[in-house]
């Protein structure tokens, strides 16, 4: 289940999933809740990492270790809690990442050993298992360093042992554990001077706290999908899309890069920011923080003043959102999200005649797009430049137009990279070929598969004749609508509807299953929708899709497959 799904369950449903005494399936649910809560707060844990190497990945390592443990039991239906715990321990051991991950795996190992072969776990056994977990964790090192995750599991075990004398309620004991863990985490700077110097608590200990807290939150009916505070890695900050969520009155976007002082407290910082503005994001990378916020005109300098008190500001970027939004509305070509190419994987370059078609190519995973086709053929230089900087030498070009195939082949002979040209003469052929792309597979096999796929689609094109002429035995008057099937002129008519009908008949549409219409910039969407309805009435059992293609001159590009 996902964080959201787990969070939606009612308290009664949750208690049903975790019956007391705990059996294997109950432990699985608790494990999942702990893992999800840790994952939700992963970046908070990452931001605490200072010792011994400031690489900021404790949270990630612990999540991966927990994930490995969970994967081991995800499909298991076993109800014996002891055997279940042994599986968890095995998964954690195999997947242990980093120092804290190894310690976590030892905790699970000890926990499993104490559960032995017991069918269920009561509170007494839980306390014993935590004691054994602590003992096993401490055995793994000659000189245990206090003020770490080891101290936290020690305090948790001690609290559990005390609590079982007082109560036999599982929920109460879990709460005692969370409180003890929290207090223990807060004490870590007193035990480990380097934490105090850096002004943080121990990251591994905090991660362990999140695991137990997640279990308790689940039992208690709290949500698991919303982090208390969130710090993203810089690369994950989504400032492009933050624009989409501009609220009324939030006129300015302020982005500040800064290095915080050692006394920096992220939660307080968030609290302060949320009083000033909205759309707050804080990212961190190599010690530098980046803050993003939307604020009203009057308070546009407040985030700067506030941040200045907490650290050294490196850079401030401020933009007028209202002006930017207007510009965006006028801009028909928003930036495309192309697929980044990993070194040595196959990269595809597609020639695309329209912005809508480019977006579809982008969503299918092309690495680069060259604008052109139909009337404006891209130059060899443009084609060459599109892939020269990609970190791979396995390149596939989709020309998507018969006039570009020659140029593409020319490009292949001009570069040291290994370039294959799939001779696609139309955009739908290009789409069809893209479905066969597996970037990390064998180059020659992929080229072959894409060549094959290209022929599996029938292509129709609808455009307006620019002069009077007779081609392929068809008489065409200037201004008439003409239909091309697989590049061959088949009819000239007065309306687009007639041309489409003739085309679909010529393409033996009855033998296929799906008709896709890509409409160009010269035709109204309402017109296209009427047309689609008409086609639907003729071919009621076909799937019919309409996409914006944005290509010039051609009202419609149609693929039939």
């Amino acid at each position: 289940m996902s964080a959201v799904e787990l969070s939606k369950l009612s308290t009664a449903e949750r208690h049903e999933l975790v019956p007391v005494p705990i059996n294997g399936q109950g432990l699985k649910t608790l494990l999942e809740a702990g893992m999800i809560w840790l994952k939700t707060n992963q970046q908070t844990v990452n931001s605490l990492n200072v010792f011994p190497v400031p690489d900021g990945d404790t949270g990630t390592n612990m999540v991966l270790t927990m994930q490995a443990a969970f994967d081991e039991v995800a499909t298991s239906g076993a109800s014996n809690v002891g055997q279940f715990a042994h599986s968890i321990a095995r998964g954690a051991l195999m997947g242990a990442r980093g120092n804290s991950g190894v310690i976590l795996s030892q905790i699970w190992r000890g926990f499993a050993r104490a559960l032995d072969d017991h069918p269920t776990m009561d509170v007494k056994l839980l306390a014993d298992a935590l004691e054994e977990a602590k003992a096993t964790a401490y055995k793994g090192v000659v000189r245990p360093v206090e003020g770490t995750i080891l101290t936290v599991i020690k305090d948790i075990a001690a609290q559990a042992t005390v609590s079982v004398q007082r109560t036999s309620s599982f929920t109460e004991i879990l709460w005692d554990i969370v409180e003890a863990a929290n207090a223990s985490v807060e004490r870590t700077p007193d035990l480990l001077p380097i934490l105090k110097q850096a002004g943080v608590v121990d990251s591994g200990g905090k991660g362990l706290l999140f695991i137990f807290e997640g279990m308790w939150r689940f039992i208690n009916g709290d949500s698991l999908d919303k982090a208390v505070t969130e710090v993203l890695p810089l690369s994950d900050m989504d400032l492009e899309n933050a624009m989409e969520t501009v609220e009324e009155g939030q006129d300015y976007e302020v982005v500040i890069d800064f290095t915080p002082k050692s006394t920096f407290n992220l939660e307080e910082y968030y609290d302060e920011l949320s009083k000033i503005g909205t759309s707050i994001q804080v990212g961190e990378g190599e010690g530098i923080y980046r803050m993003h916020i939307h604020v009203p005109l009057d308070s546009r300098y407040l985030p700067i003043d506030h941040t200045m008190n907490l650290g050294t500001i490196q850079k401030v970027m401020m933009e007028n959102l209202v002006a930017q939004m207007d510009e965006r509305k006028n801009n028909k070509n928003p930036k495309l999200k192309l697929t980044p190419v990993k070194p040595d994987e196959i990269a595809v370059v597609a020639v695309s005649p329209g912005s809508g078609l480019s977006r579809i190519f982008a969503s299918l995973g092309v690495a680069a797009i060259v604008e052109g086709g139909q009337t404006m053929n891209p130059s060899i230089k443009e084609l060459l430049a599109s892939f020269e900087n990609l970190p791979t030498d396995k390149i596939i070009i989709l020309p998507n137009n018969k006039n570009i195939i020659m140029a593409a082949k020319e490009v292949a002979s001009m570069t040291v990279k290994n370039v294959a040209v799939i001779p696609t003469i139309s955009v739908p052929q290009g789409f069809s070929a893209m479905f066969r792309l597996i970037p990390d597979s064998d180059f020659d096999e992929t080229v072959e598969a894409m060549n094959e796929a290209m022929g599996e689609v029938e292509i129709g094109e609808i455009t307006t004749a620019t002069r009077t002429v007779e081609i392929d035995g068809v008489q065409v008057e200037e201004g008439q609508v003409i239909a091309l099937h697989n590049g061959k002129l088949i009819t000239s008519t007065q309306t687009i509807e007639e041309a489409c009908e003739a085309l679909l008949i010529a393409a033996n549409t009855g033998d296929y299953e799906r008709i896709t219409l890509f409409y160009g910039e010269d035709i109204q969407l309402s017109h296209v929708n009427d047309l689609a309805d008409k086609i639907r009435s003729i071919y009621p059992s076909h799937e019919i899709e309409v996409h914006e293609g944005g290509q010039p001159h051609y009202q419609l590009i149609i693929s039939i497959e």
Binding site: P52, V102, K139, G140, V141
Partner: protein
């Protein structure tokens, strides 16, 4: 005893013995999770250790112009993920030696000489 010259100033030079660096490496290795002990490099060291506690036990330090090369011989707890443990030994020894001595560490070789089995599951 080999000494590594670290810094000059107008009053003289600072010389650091390899033993000193070995002690630092040794300490941070023993604090690394999963390491339950150091192991002798060879038979002679094994015998010598019986009579005389040696700071270099289980650790070997070499120096060339590019930096320090440290070899560490360890015993690991059975049932832990050895790859993760050796990685963290490398990281913490590098961090502590570079921080305290100020010399670049070029290579750290971790030799797992054995496993200690304290519990069978």
């Amino acid at each position: 005893m080999a000494e590594i010259e670290n810094k000059h100033n107008e009053l003289g030079s600072i010389l650091i013995q390899k033993d000193a660096i070995a002690s630092i490496a040794r300490q941070s290795t023993l604090q690394s999770y999963g390491v339950v002990g150091l192991a002798p490099k060879n038979l002679i060291e094994n015998i010598r250790q019986l009579f005389n506690k040696d700071a270099k036990y289980g650790v070997e330090v070499e120096f060339d112009h590019d930096g320090l090369v440290i070899d560490i011989f360890i015993v690991v707890e059975y049932g832990t993920r050895i790859k993760s443990i050796t990685n963290s030994v490398v990281n913490s020894v590098k961090y502590n030696v570079e921080k305290t001595v100020g010399l670049p560490v070029r290579r750290i070789n971790v030799h797992v000489r054995g496993l200690r089995i304290s519990n069978m599951d």
